[in-house]
Symmetry: D2
Subunit: 304 residues, 4 copies
């Protein structure tokens, strides 16, 4: 059954997601801070709103996917925000990666209007968004999830219910803290071995023939060796997610010593101007300190 | 062609390795600090020596696999040590996990007697040692490796040449720093999510359906959830290997911030009396701080 | 010249501060979430308001000193908050220790009403608040500070102008990150030495006769040796300030590896239930791991 | 009563120490790896030996002060080392800063010859060595210390007995871990504040008017602000002492998370070629990451 959907945030992920909803026959009213990204969506049949409040007015479902905590706060709680118009009984699905604490606070405001909220951050690339193959980690009431599941099934293949409000975000942040650390320590190991004269390819072969083999490093290693840091997931966003993970850990008395140390490394790399590269570029920070290359010399030259 | 082999160190790994060499038809003269472990080996046809020097006398190959740097130093350089009797042209293969710097120093002493040394640490369990399926990471001269390869093929399936003396150990330590950190940060993530109300099994499902999936955590997770920390690789040994990795990093101007932080966590867990458990028991240190269990409650009760 | 002052937050620090303002002849209208703390102030001549907005109505100066970022946000921006009534030309002085980013955001809202804001966190104990001997670190416009300086001189002896909005808080957080780390690493050193058989008093004598001697550890050491952790500054608040410092560092691309590591230690100690003790109680966390006491045995027994 | 003293190691500290012993009327036989440094000492009346063994032959006291663990091992246990000739009843005083574990091991060897050993590392500069104003931290038997105290009183003003063999070194390493961390976190704080627009001099004033004021930062701050990193204590030696502290912590199940993190920072700074500067140059590492200067611009230009 076609539904009325307010969609806020037409970034790399948001645009293909909104498009998929239109294609699936839903009535989408979209908002983006900069109007320029609207064209493909309008051509497909979506209507553009001039504010989040307008996009949310009368909608069954309001979906938000914006850059950070401040942006979510603004589009929902700010002037002209979703909260001004969201109708009782509607569901706000926020797929931004933000602080679980903030998400719970927003959920309270939303509940105050008789509506419900789910935190539903995603993993998967732009490509996954286009194909409708994202993975959603979801926090909120299970009955609310059941109600909007058909919509989420248009956008993704896997929908994992995590628990109460904030639980989806907590799972996402735990996940990213693990990935950030796996890649960083993989690079620490490559650099240590390289400095001792072990060819990076040899060290990689050793890792691959051990239990440390992981899909993530299977995927990243060739890019690391080529010195190709085209952003699959930009380093500055990984740094942001580590900060959010540490903030969540702080709020709950959880200690994350490895993630804390790794966050400082990504932060240093970002400060060196590497924020827009893929987060695997953290290897270059470690290489520069050690004075050794794990990249092939051709690749190393290309990036200097 | 059967060879004369001096074998020093009949621990969990050494005993099945020595036995395989005997079964393959080699003349093995073994030494162990405590005599008790000699019986199965003697029954199989090995001779027992009363000192490392006696085990090494006249041998084509001397193999050492003992507990730590101090033990290698003693059995090779100490009184009654290998260096007193090793013949010119012989090869000393040390499969202990020790400091690469110390290994290079010993290699110099060995070269002073006209013999050669390889550092050849292994990965693989007791079971792998019994089946002759270990992986060797090897440092030293390639020609020397070529010469002793038939012997190493009795003991393992994979023999990776890493570079000059110390390179095999450097690769091994890099590898273990990666594994120690992968397991520890996996636990950090599980605990963070659990504290936010995400079921550990759900968090694990999320990790498994992502690129963070790794053989290591595939293997460890069920034990973690059961609270079964039977030592596959004891936590105190992982702590030792992290210390060696950090020492190697120090010696070469390599920075390893994640490994440094993680070493402190294993150290704290070891100090709590968890050194003889599997290193996955690091999860209990994090659980206790957070006041949450990722183990099932039944398992948790069993371990208290 | 007597002024009209709205005062919000009658905690350990706020109550004596408000009292000093009343005694200096100012017209104080105060608000506290729980009414119970109002009595001494009312007896002295202050009026109690039923909301922050009421306390701020018509005031020349509004002063806030509450527990954390969320509390400041609520009393200023929330329903019934200061922003609803603050008059054009008034000055909001916030002496809470909160996020500099949040403080700048609030300053913008305040400016939108034609008023001005200063962040003016303090150092000094309850005793210092009573005596009017606090130190203020101040961010905002210098002319605004000049205007309210007579008021601040009632409360403190030292008023350090740090720069634009948020600069006072940044200085305060930098300061506390330094102090938290000094105390923690002092304890690391005592524990290392104690474990090697050095009497804590001897180690302390060594530190005191070196350039590491600091007023902070002059002051804390006797309490540490006695095992007396009566909260001069509670561990949980130091943990909070470290979190704020790290958040500020994140927001500005600053790396603070020592503070990041130390924050995890305070976090772990807090999770063990030590949050309400003085932050020097961090020593007990390190002692328990090392299995050694730097406290005298009598003191150690008293705290177990 | 004049004594016969073998003195090994004529570096920045050793040369003035040996000279003071000669001037006090003792018979000094000195050894240094490179002969060039012998002249002032020979002119004063010392005899030069061609090996540590020759310097130690017949001596009542043998004093060693060399660069690191490997050097001590060589001059005492190596070929032509002290152990070959030290007479029964003599005392070996080692003032090098080395691993406590190694020191204990050497003490055992020395005891095997009927001699005794003290570990007696010093604090104080070249200037302090010249004036005979060093501070000694001493491990070993107290009776042995009593016996050699008159000699140590020629060299220093303060002699602190710490406990059994290794205790002097443990105290020294604890002390340096504290100082390294105090300076590094002081710089973290300056950089955080500077990035938020707080003038470094203002931040320093805040620290100085607080309990964080310490002799160490009183002394370092002017050099930091001038960007003058003339080595009072070279960064690479501080990095070495942090490594030794961590090694000692490892050996004794002590956790030192701050020192561990700080060691990585000094290591990274050293790898950038800052090893020969004063250890306060760690500030430049933090400055470069943050993209801000705590040095005055004139000073900053001079060092680039």
């Amino acid at each position: 059954m076609p539904q009325s959907i307010g969609f806020i945030g037409l970034g790399i992920m948001g645009q293909p997601m909104a498009l998929n909803l239109v294609k699936a026959g839903h009535r989408v009213t979209a908002f983006n801070r900069t109007r320029s990204k609207a064209e493909p969506l309008e051509r497909a049949g979506a209507r553009m709103a001039s504010s989040p409040a307008e996009a949310a007015r009368g909608a069954d479902i309001v979906m938000t996917i914006v850059s950070d905590s401040a942006a979510v706060e603004e589009v929902v709680l700010g002037k002209g925000g979703v909260l001004e118009t969201i109708r009782s009984g509607a569901v706000l699905i926020d797929s931004s990666t933000i602080s679980p604490t903030l998400s719970r606070k927003i959920a309270c405001h939303v509940a105050g209007r008789g509506a419900r909220m789910l935190d539903a951050p995603v993993t998967g690339s732009k490509h996954g968004a286009e194909k409708g193959e994202l993975t959603f980690m979801i926090g909120g009431e299970r009955e609310v999830l059941d109600r909007v599941l058909p919509i989420l099934q248009v956008l993704g293949k896997k929908h994992i219910y995590c628990g109460a409000n904030g639980a989806g975000l907590s799972a996402k942040l735990a996940q990213n803290a693990i990935q950030a650390t796996m890649v960083e320590v993989f690079c620490e190991g490559l650099v240590l071995a390289a400095k001792a004269g072990v060819q990076p390819q040899t060290m990689f072969e050793i890792i691959q023939s051990s239990m440390a083999r992981a899909s993530l490093t299977d995927f990243k290693a060739p890019f690391i060796f080529k010195g190709d840091f085209t952003p699959y997931f930009p380093l500055k966003l990984m740094h942001k997610d580590l900060e959010l993970a540490m903030e969540a850990a702080y709020a709950q008395n959880v200690t994350m010593p490895a993630a804390a140390a790794v966050k400082e490394v990504y932060g240093a790399a970002k400060a060196q101007g590497k924020g827009d590269m893929d987060y695997a570029a953290v290897v270059t920070f470690l290489e520069e300190i050690a004075g050794v290359q794990v990249r092939t010399s051709a690749a190393a030259q290309a990036t200097h």
